[in-house]
């Protein structure tokens, strides 16, 4: 009865299921493993590895917790809120709860200083920004089509944009000569190279504010990019997931603002990806959003959102919280302040040992320049340095090559996912390591234009270290 062939499990599954395009087999997860097997704890394991590869925002939970305590109606489980239970538990409409969409639209507008308004009917839900990025690809591109993405970029884009969609990712080269800004020339070069290879470019995707750079795109550059995509008639997807982590000037400029200023802008090419995972520190709640100015995309995307709707319990909770304008204003202000202070403390600490970071005004991380510590100015040299930092200095940081950076020696270091004491320990270790490495050889560092801060205060909020509720995957936490 049985067939003679040996059916390997490989043949039983699809190519997608058995290829590497989920990106989890890269060597960078050694850093994760080092952390997982030996996680730092201030008292129980003070020699352990400190997790600095996780872009989480843990600085402002107390504000949210306070709000929760004061607003029991926001939960469908409390006596005050249980009247809503059956309606919410039953609600699976892919349009989403109207009050949720309205609140999100208002929130997004506030994050942009009220300079733009968002139409709640253009908001689509998805399973986190992970789901949102995949969804927009399914809507805009066919297998084999390509999207341009400026380097360095978030490593998991390979999975989110390409894995199941069959879309190709074409890097747009950026480098430190101009602080990794996106230039028209670089866009043209990438676009033309793709064309020369007969690759159909469907669009450009940028993350603004940038991960891993922590910088925002200035108004003129953004306008230039919009003109570029208009000319080429390709889509422009702006992942603005870090929009409310902007803690310093220049003020954040959203693509939503810029299109108001450009004549004859083809709005049906413009799409925004958003999430509450970074700005509000709620990655567990899986709130991903797609905002499109294109009616067909809204229509189609809404149907696709069935594959990753936001839990109605979560929609209901957030509808209440984000509609509380007074709370939102207070939260955004305080969160930005805490991020600024943490960033300041960390970068100043690095400067003590002449380590500079790319000047940044946003994000949950710094783009640290360790080129001076490379024995060889190659990516192999970068990996050697990285392994030293993970294994000897015991810090899990992310090497630039993981982000497809064109120059070796850059590292992304997260600072918002730990408490103040842990930051101090990390800085001590870095200072010790650098001191050892530099030794007698004094290098003169070109000092980059830096934002100067007049006051310096310690962040006194007590924050928990990442608490592991279960053994967890590297990718989920690492590549954010």
């Amino acid at each position: 009865m049985a067939l003679g062939n040996i059916k390997s499990t490989h043949q039983l599954l699809s190519k997608i299921a058995t290829n590497d395009k989920h990106g989890e087999n890269s060597p960078y997860f050694d850093g994760w493993k080092a952390y997982e097997t030996n996680p730092f704890h201030p008292t129980k394991n003070p020699q352990g590895v400190i997790q600095m590869g996780l872009a989480e925002n843990q600085l402002s939970f107390d504000l949210i917790e306070e709000w929760i305590r004061n607003n029991p109606k926001a939960s469908i489980c409390t006596p005050e809120g249980v009247d809503n239970f059956r309606h919410i538990a039953n609600f699976q409409d892919y349009h989403g709860l109207p009050e949720f969409r309205n609140a999100v639209a208002k929130f997004m507008s506030k994050v942009r200083g009220g300079r733009v308004r968002f139409d709640p009917d253009r908001i689509l839900m998805s399973g986190g920004a992970t789901g949102a990025n995949e969804l927009i690809m399914f809507c805009l591109a066919d297998p084999g089509d390509a999207f341009l993405v400026p380097c360095p970029y978030y490593p998991a884009f390979v999975r989110d944009l390409c894995w199941r969609t069959g879309v190709q990712l074409i890097p747009v080269q950026c480098d430190s000569s101009n602080n990794f800004m996106i230039t028209r020339e670089a866009l043209e070069a990438a676009y033309n190279k793709a064309k020369a290879h007969n690759i159909n470019v469907k669009g450009l995707l940028i993350t603004n504010p940038s991960n891993p750079l922590g910088t925002t795109v200035d108004r003129e550059t953004l306008k230039s990019i919009v003109r570029f995509i208009n000319e080429k008639n390709i889509h422009f997807v702006c992942d603005e997931i870090y929009a409310a982590t902007v803690f310093n000037t220049p003020t954040f400029v959203s693509v939503a603002e810029v299109i108001q200023e450009i004549e004859h802008c083809k709005r049906n090419l413009i799409h925004i990806i958003y999430s509450l995972s970074k700005d509000m520190g709620l990655p567990g709640f899986r709130v991903g959003l797609v905002y499109s100015y294109n009616d067909e995309v809204v229509n189609c995307g809404r149907k696709m959102s069935s594959f990753g709707l936001v839990s109605s319990q979560t929609q209901h909770f957030l509808a209440a919280m984000l509609a509380d304008e007074e709370f939102v204003e207070r939260f955004l202000k305080e969160s930005a302040k805490r991020l600024r202070l943490r960033h300041e403390y960390f970068t100043k600490g690095l400067e003590k040992v002449n380590i500079t970071c790319l000047p940044s005004n946003a994000g949950l991380f710094c783009w640290m320049n360790l080129r001076g510590l490379l024995k060889k100015h190659t990516f192999e040299g970068e990996m050697v340095l990285w392994r030293m930092i993970v294994n000897e200095v015991k810090l899990n940081v992310s090497p630039g090559s993981a982000f497809n950076c064109s120059e070796p020696g850059w590292f992304r270091v997260c600072f918002a996912n730990m408490d103040h004491e842990t930051v101090e320990v990390a800085l001590k270790r870095i200072r010790a390591f650098v001191g050892k490495e530099i030794g007698v050889e004094r290098k003169r560092w070109k000092s980059n234009l830096r934002l100067s801060f007049s006051t310096r205060r310690f962040d006194e909020t007590v924050i928990m270290s990442p608490h592991m509720m279960s053994p967890h995957s590297p990718l989920v936490r690492a590549t954010t």
Binding site: M1, L3, K7, T9, H10, L12, L13, S14, I16, A17, H22, E56, Q58, I64, E65, I68, C77, T78, P79, A89, N90, Q92, G127, T130, G131, E134, F138, C139, D142, D145, R164, N200, N233, G281, P283, G284, F285, R286, N294, E296, V297, C300, K303, M304, S306, F307, G308, L309, S311, S312, Q313, M464, H467, M469, S470, H472, S473, L475, V476, R477
Partner: protein, 479 residues
């Protein structure tokens, strides 16, 4: 240049079908006891609204789960940060225990083999991505849930080839039909990657017999590269005999579960790594809004791949936490399962007798949130056009949104899926009154229907007689 993707501009999402159009009509004119008593009653929505009070009372007694607390301490931060695609261990344990309990603990499930997804919508799509290439096919018995056209085919590029079932044997799957579907796929040059069944069935409301399940397992044994997916989303809605037999139980009986099978088995002989179960809390617990779906598989590669893919649709941590507490309360789950069953049975009886009074029969069912109703005698002709005409009358004139069989890919015109668990008893009674009035009008009026009023009673008696003899036939198939 084409602006959007092919997927965005085709209609493989299947939402132009009548199944969804009926919903749209309902949305425009929804029945409300007070504000819109003449509106359309929604009977096209397979929701379980019968046991919310049990859930609400549990919440009342369990304030910790309600308030992001564990042992009185706030765990908000942990929940806010928890995005591990392996899922919350306590939640996975609670779900597999619940699944086992529903199956009378005849089979158990390993929490490490369950993958959490955003509803079974996502679970089914994910399995397609894991098991099939674009252009491959899965065989599905008809009639089937209209949403499968979207969930299985749309973004995956997978094809569905129907296993034609019909009323001659109460729509059961036969070897002949299975073989015919397979051959049809060959003719169309489609590589068949497996079979997907919904058990208990949507839209039939019946549980699959052991005979059918064994037939399917035999089939995939014969074709060593094929999978069997059993969507058991309605497993907790079984309210009368014959009870629910899960495909996992059948594997156990055949000694073909992973634990019981012979280690030396030739890869091609063994079958446990090609059988996968889909589950969800949307029907049994009536919580579709929470987006809780699951894939269960003993195949490590499938679990591994599906887990990574679940990143695109994880279950909200606050929801995982709430439900891990609720389903972890064994006293509660026992009470819930029993009471849910009781209420569904009562409600189904109400619908069936209401239909009978209107001279309408339905397939005898023991599960689900709906009945598969036989309105063939009300068709002006034995065609799908006539079915559409009848459906439109029922939606617009009678004011009931029910689902026409054609939207479920049924091969025989005249069958309709009618839901009974998503409304109050009063509303159900009203729906039956309206339907009765319509039928009287329809058959009393000599011109439009095939039969006139005089023949009506006789044909009803004949029909009831046929139905009971068929029931015996079904029971004989049980081993």
């Amino acid at each position: 240049m084409k602006l959007l993707s092919t997927k965005a501009t085709c209609n493989s999402h299947g939402q132009d079908s009548s199944y969804f159009l009926g919903w749209e009509e309902y949305e425009k004119n929804p029945y409300d006891e007070v504000h819109n008593p003449k509106g359309i009653i929604q009977m096209g929505l397979a929701e379980n609204q019968l046991c919310f009070d049990l859930l609400e009372s549990w919440l009342e007694k369990n304030p910790d789960a309600a308030g992001f607390k564990r042992d009185g301490k706030s765990i908000f931060r942990e929940l806010a940060l928890f995005q591990d695609y392996h899922g919350m261990p306590a939640f996975k344990k609670a779900i597999v225990d619940f699944m086992a309990e529903i199956r009378g603990n005849k089979v158990t499930f390993d929490p490490n083999h369950i993958v959490l997804t955003a509803g079974s919508t996502s679970a089914n799509e994910t399995l397609m991505f894991c098991l099939a290439e674009q252009g491959d096919a899965f065989l599905l018995p008809t009639p089937y849930y209209p949403g499968f056209d979207r969930d299985l085919k749309w973004r995956t590029g997978v094809e569905i080839v129907p296993i034609q079932c019909n009323s001659s044997n109460n729509f059961q799957v036969t070897e002949a039909a299975l073989q015919q579907a397979y051959e049809e796929a060959q003719k169309r040059n489609l590589k068949v990657k497996g079979v997907l069944v919904t058990n208990p069935s949507n839209p039939l409301g019946t549980t699959m017999s052991r005979g059918e399940l064994n037939l399917l397992v035999d089939f995939i044994k014969e074709h060593g590269d094929m999978h069997l997916i059993s969507d058991e989303i309605y497993s907790g809605t079984v309210f009368s005999s014959p009870g629910f037999v899960s495909v996992m139980e059948v594997l156990k009986e055949r000694n073909e579960l992973k634990v019981s099978s012979n280690e030396d088995d030739n890869n091609a002989d063994r079958v446990w790594d090609r059988v996968h179960v889909v589950y969800s809390l949307s029907k049994d617990l009536g919580l579709p809004g929470f987006r809780v779906g699951a894939i269960y598989s003993e195949n490590d590669d499938v679990v591994s791949a599906a887990t990574k893919m679940s990143s695109f649709g994880l279950v909200s941590s606050q929801t995982q936490y709430l439900l891990s507490a609720m389903l972890g309360d064994k006293k509660f789950t026992k009470l819930y399962i029993t009471e849910n069953e009781k209420r569904l049975k009562r409600r189904q009886r109400m619908l069936v007798s209401g239909l009978q009074k209107a001279g309408i029969g339905c397939l005898e069912s023991n599960a689900g949130l709906f009945c598969w109703v036989d309105m063939r005698h009300l068709l002006s002709s034995n065609t799908f056009e006539a079915e559409m005409d009848l459906w439109k009358k029922i939606v617009y004139q009678v004011g009931l949104n029910i689902s026409p069989g054609s939207s479920c890919h049924c091969t025989e015109p005249g069958w309709f899926r009618v839901c009974f668990a998503n409304m109050s008893e009063q509303t159900l009674n009203l729906a039956m009154k309206r339907l009765t009035a319509f039928v009287v009008e329809c058959t009393g009026n000599g011109g439009s229907a095939k039969r006139n009023g005089g023949l009506k009673m006789k044909s009803l008696t004949k029909w009831v007689f046929r139905l009971s003899s068929r029931r015996d036939g079904r029971e004989q198939e049980e081993r």
